[in-house]
């Protein structure tokens, strides 16, 4: 049984102009210790997905249907008190901007101890000892000193290390990291990613990494989901998706990377932009931008087709697979 199982999750934002579905029919699983990447452009729904796993959505957003199974609980329909015992404890979250995540008026030590005391019946002294140990794990220089410092006294990279330490504080089973290195510089990003990778491996923690950076995903994760306009359009082992992307959108995303083009030549661009959620076209939501668009793409929503170890939601891939099958039978 997988550690986490998301089934047909649908998230709705009730706006004055009507309800907007930010996630549609999202299903995936996560095994213990697995590292899963969620990629997509801004507005694709990847952060909403991360938030809705632990039901952190605030009004007007809500889970309108579907479930999130975690150890016999359905997180999508759990009472707030029960949810609190899981959030931060069994599933923790790391956000993009460490300056926004840490409380500016509390010392690092207070924030860490507070988190421990909220979930465990231990003394403050013990809590401090655990906090110190976690700070050492994230390789912060002079950790004893940091406990008494305020977030503004630390650099961006250091703050993100603290946030990771807080995420690991209660030895969770799953860490959801929402763009954890986007606000950092490349050299710091490499260090932080390396650190997260090692810590997850050592402690057998599953990681859900939400990012727009395909390079980071390819280096850190084992499996990945590609999202577009609120749906998963392709999923599979990271290596296979990166090396042999099936969905035209994933292909386009890869080809648009400057490193895929010959220096000085034009980049391969995907025409147009992602439609706003109120105006998602009929059929496949990628159809107005797709270069292989067929009649059926404008009519019918594609379902998942198995392609190798990947699942792709594309009519073209489905047809070519069917042709293959028919060809084999004849």
């Amino acid at each position: 049984m997988p550690l986490l199982e998301v089934n047909n999750l649908e998230v709705c934002f009730g706006l004055r102009s009507g309800a907007v579905k930010a996630l549609r029919n999202v299903s995936f699983t996560l095994e213990r210790g697995e590292r899963l990447g969620i990629v997509g452009e801004s507005g694709a729904g990847k952060s909403v997905l991360g938030f809705s796993i632990i039901n952190l959505l605030s009004r007007p957003g809500r889970i309108s249907s579907g479930n999130v199974h975690f150890e016999g609980y359905d997180l999508a329909h759990l009472a707030p008190e029960e949810l609190r015992s899981i959030r931060g404890n069994r599933i923790s979250m790391i956000f993009q901007d460490p300056m926004m995540t840490l409380n500016p008026v509390l010392t690092i030590g207070t924030q860490m101890v507070e988190c421990l005391l909220a979930h465990r019946k231990i003394s403050v002294v013990d809590a401090k000892r655990i906090a110190l140990k976690k700070l050492q794990q994230v390789q912060i220089p002079s950790p004893e000193k940091r406990l008494d410092q305020y977030p503004h006294e630390l650099s961006g990279g250091m703050r993100q290390r603290i946030v990771i330490a807080i995420g690991l504080l209660l030895d969770p089973d799953i860490i959801i990291a929402d763009e954890p290195t986007t606000a950092l510089d490349v050299t710091i990003q490499a260090e932080i990613m390396d650190l997260m990778l090692n810590l997850c491996e050592q402690n057998n923690v599953a990681l859900i990494l939400i990012t727009h950076d395909l390079g980071v995903v390819s280096q850190v994760t084992q499996r990945m989901l590609v999202m577009y306009a609120g749906r998963i359009i392709e999923q599979g082992p990271t290596k296979e998706v990166i090396n042999d992307a099936q969905h035209p959108y994933t292909q386009g995303l890869m080809n648009a990377l400057p490193q895929m083009a010959i220096p000085g030549q034009k980049l391969n661009q995907i025409k147009g932009t992602m439609p706003p959620l109120q105006r998602i076209p009929k059929g496949c939501s990628f159809n107005p931008r797709c270069e292989y668009v067929m009649d059926i793409c404008e009519q019918k929503l594609p379902s998942f087709t198995e392609s190798g170890n990947c699942q792709v939601a594309c009519h073209m891939v489905a047809e070519s697979k069917q042709d293959e099958l028919l060809g084999n039978e004849v």
Binding site: D185, T187, I188, G252, L267, Q269, T273
Partner: protein
């Protein structure tokens, strides 16, 4: 520097520091029975010299806080340098009055990072594009202005019929196109682009980069392109300048820099780019973090994090030296043939 006179923009020994100690009264401190004046500065740029050649795209890369945007703004005349010279086609422009600067502003335009902040939300696209044209060409008739706007809008792939809309009605990529159109509207020769694509998504980044490359070809533009994204640089840049803590570490033709980076910082920066091809590259681990530009380290600014630093690096500031292969590097190690 033999081709001194050929360069379009020449920056010589540029220094820029910002006071962070407030006004005069804030600076007074009571210490040991005496009132003393205490001033602190952020040393944003420390002796940067570079030449931008006509028709090239010179990319400036570095981590946040290394002074790359300050260089861009100082070159544009938006900030006055603390010391040093900036020349445009051999004429010094850093000490000109606003009025004397006017003809240069028409030739030099800037594209900013955040298209959400750089377009006036109260102006329609038409008004946004009209303003620079009418300001710089007061003799133009309204029809000529309108034709010009239609031309630039078409050239950046924005439908001219959208002119009556406001900027909030557009997506990030479209807004950035409009900012590019605004820069192109006065037919500049030189464009400073300060992280023009970092606020955009990958598929939109490609569209905007292609647009900038087309514009360069058609209008024979010269770019000073500020970015932190090295993979974009590899694609876009003719030459690359790598900055660290307000100083120039290395300046080389793009191909050379990517095939054989010389400065230890450039090497670390290159190896840290997450790439698609390999799993976990053995990147060069830098210890520690970037020091603050308030109290600059002595000697080479990079020595605290450099794996090859020795005593000389801690004492003496390295100067940019031209190597045989055309690369300019500021590093004692390279100079001594240790690296």
């Amino acid at each position: 520097m033999a081709e001194q006179n050929d360069s379009l923009v020449q920056v010589r020994d540029l220094y820029k520091r910002f006071s962070i100690s407030g006004d005069f009264l804030d600076q007074l401190q009571f210490k040991g029975g005496k009132i003393t004046r205490h001033q602190e500065y952020v040393h944003a740029i420390n002796g940067v010299s570079l030449d931008v050649m006509p028709g090239e795209a010179l990319c400036v890369v570095g981590e946040s806080g290394c002074g790359k945007s300050t260089v861009a703004r100082t070159v544009m005349g938006l900030l006055t340098p603390t010391a040093g010279q900036i020349s445009y086609r051999g004429e010094r422009i850093d000490n000109l009055s606003d009025k004397q600067m006017l003809p240069y502003r028409k030739k030099m335009q800037m594209i900013f990072q955040n298209p959400y902040a750089s377009l006036n939300p109260r102006m329609t696209i038409m008004e946004t594009l009209q303003e620079p044209i009418r300001f710089h060409n007061p003799s133009m008739t309204l029809t000529e202005v309108k034709d010009k706007i239609a031309e630039v809008m078409l050239s950046v792939g924005v439908d001219p019929s959208w002119g009556e809309r406001y900027s909030h009605e557009f997506s990030g990529g479209q807004r950035q196109r409009i900012s590019i159109a605004r820069a192109l509207a006065v037919d500049p020769e030189f464009i400073v682009a300060d992280e023009p694509i970092s606020a955009l998504d990958v598929s939109i980044q490609a569209q905007v980069l292609n647009l900038m490359m087309d514009a360069q070809e058609q209008r024979n533009l010269t770019y000073l392109f500020i970015t932190h994204d090295l993979s974009v640089v590899e694609h876009f840049g003719t030459r690359v300048a790598v900055m660290y803590l307000g100083t120039l570490c290395e300046l080389a033709p793009t191909k050379q820099l990517f095939s054989s980076p010389r400065h230890p910082y450039t090497q670390a920066l290159m190896s840290a780019i997450p790439r698609l091809e390999d799993d976990r590259p053995d990147y060069i681990k830098l210890s520690g973090e970037v020091p603050t530009p308030v109290n600059l380290p002595s000697g080479c600014v990079f020595h605290g994090r450099c794996p090859h630093a020795n005593e000389r690096c801690k004492q003496e500031i390295p100067v940019l030296t031209l190597l045989d292969d055309g690369t300019q590097v500021a590093c004692h190690g390279v100079e001594e043939n240790r690296l």
